[in-house]
Amino acid sequence: MAVLTEEQTMLRDMAAEWVPDRAPVTAFRRVAHEKLGHDPELWAEIAGTMGWAGILVPEEHGGSDFGYLSMGLVLEEMGRTLVASPLIATGVLGVAALRLGGDAEQQTAWLARIATGEAIVAFACDEDGRHDPANVKLTAKRDGDGFRLDGVKAPVSEGVSARLLIVAARDEAGKIVLLLVPGDAAGVTRTRLDRIDGREAALIRFDGVTVGADAALTGGAALLDRVLDRGRAALAAEMLGSATQAFETTIDYLKTRVQFGQLIGSFQALQHRAVAMQGELLMTRSAVEAALTALDEDRDDAPMLVSLAKAIAGDTLRLCSREMVQMHGGIGMTEEHDAGLYYKRSATADATGGNSAFHRERYARLAGY
């Protein structure tokens, strides 16, 4: 754990208290089972009571502007119990896009509503089921002062309930442009995708959707990259929390399960694998905290550190969730046990924002390999 400020310590302690109390894994099970996407009451508490949707929102728009490391602390705690919430889509990707690429009017129109939790935002980048921001195909053709959008985005996290869609499109010059599109705009068709992890994702069709000139954010492909990096680092923090919980639950099981007349945690074959997980978790925490800190300081090495964090978080959550299933044995394969929920989440979280292989390649290019 990084050396925290007093403010950050308080925030983390509050999250560590609130999450298991109000949003334990059983709460996630209900959301997933009933295909709710997220629980509106819990979201009202997350955004309203706790103020977490505004952690990255400037104070003049009603946020606390605590920064990315602080947001990571909260997300890590939420990752522990697999809380399904629009916090990353709205409070990280949405806020980052508006802060980095929005003008004063766009910021005024949305940031305060994001901070209160009233407006849920979805960030639509991926197409054809791949994270490939360099190859966005959805078109944004000039239409009067504004744009006309045609194409398909999928999967889009929180894409069903979002009031505002921030859409990565390609203009007639072949340049990337980010556009603010109301979720209920004419020509937008949203289909809920039923995925293995039970979280909210949508396939969204844009058939001749028109928006005004005021819909465009400034910054193009560079903005897209910067916004994505903020989402990736935030997700890596959440994944760190999920991996840590998978690990801790497994260690507890090793201390209680008896076979051959002894605790299975006394078996060296399992002990050494347990220590290996601890080593990976240590390195993951270091990478995640370094990435979040680099974003807070807006440093040039942030993209590399984000790719490092997302890649290692993907690998580590995969390892810890698999070991969670394996070391629990048969019970770990059952729907009743939580192990499967972490295992399923390892796959969707890895794919979101680019999987480990994507980020190793990105790191390679950034480093000159």
Binding site: S266, Q278, L282, S286, Y363, A364
Partner: protein, 393 residues
């Protein structure tokens, strides 16, 4: 305050560090002082650092230290690294014995031994392992008998780094045969004593750094006992933490892999390393190395904030040895058949260094407690897992 100290440290380093020594820091368990002492510049550097008190920057001044705080030591380290300088005292005596004596030694023992360690003039070796006591260190058999006015020590040690060049040895000896861990004492032995013999062991890399040490009826003054009789195991465990700590600090940067790979393996039309499989593994290694370095930095920062967790040390040692071994493998692969030279013509220094480093690298996960022993310790102490049933019972 800290900026003033940085300026002072930078100026002093630039005035006093002999440029000929840049990046030539001794590597633990491979080469150390004797390797460098043929070089007059090395002696100059050692003596200047000793006089300044920066060879043992955190120690009290009465023992030759600099009485610097954590923040200043960090600055000092950064300023040394900036120009390829290093702490010449960073050897067994400084990294292991020093902190142990500061914690457990009598005032007389500290006054007798620490100034020589801080000045780099007194060299120490570690008499722990025995032919029958490696991973199972507490089964050691070197006997130490109380003869009234002195102790008499009889036995054999092995893997004693630099014993053939050492002035002193801190050794674990058996003072009670009725208890395994509770019958061990911690003793300081003058290597000039009658009955002490050393014999270097040649490793697969050609290194002769490790030795056998024979103790034949060696007389040791009773004042040389550290701590209480039969309480040496607790002191040893603490010392082993210091050792693991110094080993997990990393082994220096070494030759950068990316330009070497670009030069030797070549690049494709997009400027990527031409061997795509090797490229993938080089990147994976670079990322793990960075994550490891970030982890060491984070643990150090937490330590300075009073949040240090010693139980992590075995995990860090294993992560570090793994990163270093993979690195040694990759350099060999980059160099191809030019990485297979043993000595002489036809091979550059970089190439010869790579092959010897590759051979030596297997030791990283053996010395200072093997990879498996570190995992056992971490499972028990860090994770609180139950003890494994003793094998063979």
């Amino acid at each position: 305050m800290s900026e003033a100290f940085r300026a002072e440290a930078r100026a002093w380093m630039e005035d006093n560090f002999p440029p000929s020594l840049a990046f030539k820091n001794p590597v633990p368990y491979q080469n150390d002082a004797p390797y460098a002492e043929g070089d007059p510049d090395w002696i100059v550097w050692r003596d200047r650092m000793a006089e300044k008190g920066w060879g043992a920057p955190g120690w009290p001044k009465i023992y030759g230290g600099g009485e610097l705080g954590h923040a200043e030591i960090k600055i000092l380290t950064e300023e040394m690294r900036r120009i390829g300088a290093f702490n010449p005292m960073k050897m067994t005596g400084y990294t292991m014995l020093g902190p142990t004596l500061l914690e457990f030694g009598t005032e007389e023992q500290k006054a007798q031994h620490l100034p020589g360690v801080a000045a780099g003039t007194s060299r120490w070796c570690q008499g722990f392992s025995e032919p029958g006591a490696g991973s199972d260190l507490a089964s050691l058999q070197t006997r130490c008998v109380d003869m009234g006015d002195h102790y008499l020590v009889e036995g054999q040690k092995i893997w004693t780094s630099g014993a053939n060049h050492a002035d002193w040895c801190f050794a674990l000896v058996r003072t009670d045969t009725s208890s395994k861990q509770g019958g061990i004492s911690f003793l300081l032995i003058d290597m000039k004593s009658e009955g002490v013999e050393t014999r270097p062991i040649t490793l697969i890399s050609g290194s002769t750094h490790f030795c056998e040490m024979f103790l034949n009826a060696v007389k040791v003054p009773k004042d040389n006992l550290v701590g209480e009789l039969n309480k040496g195991w607790g002191i040893a465990k603490r010392l082993l933490q210091f050792e693991r700590d110094s080993l997990s600090e990393g082994r220096g940067e070494g030759v950068p892999l990316l330009p070497l790979a670009q030069e030797r393996v070549g690049t494709d039309a997009d400027g990527r390393i031409a061997d795509s499989d090797l490229r993938t593994r080089l990147v994976a290694h670079a990322m793990r190395a960075q994550a490891y370095n970030l982890t060491m930095g984070r643990i150090a920062a937490e330590g300075k904030a009073g949040q240090r967790n010693d139980a992590l040390v075995p995990v860090l040692k294993n992560l570090g040895s793994d990163v270093a071994q993979v690195r040694a493998d990759l350099i060999m692969e980059i160099l191809g058949e030019q990485g297979l030279g043993w000595s002489g013509e036809g091979y550059s220094d970089v190439e010869l260094d790579a092959s010897h480093q590759w051979l030596h690298a297997r030791a990283f996960s053996i010395y200072g407690g093997s990879f498996e022993i570190q995992n056992n310790i971490a499972a028990k102490v860090l994770l609180g897992l139950p003890s494994a049933p003793a094998p063979g019972r």
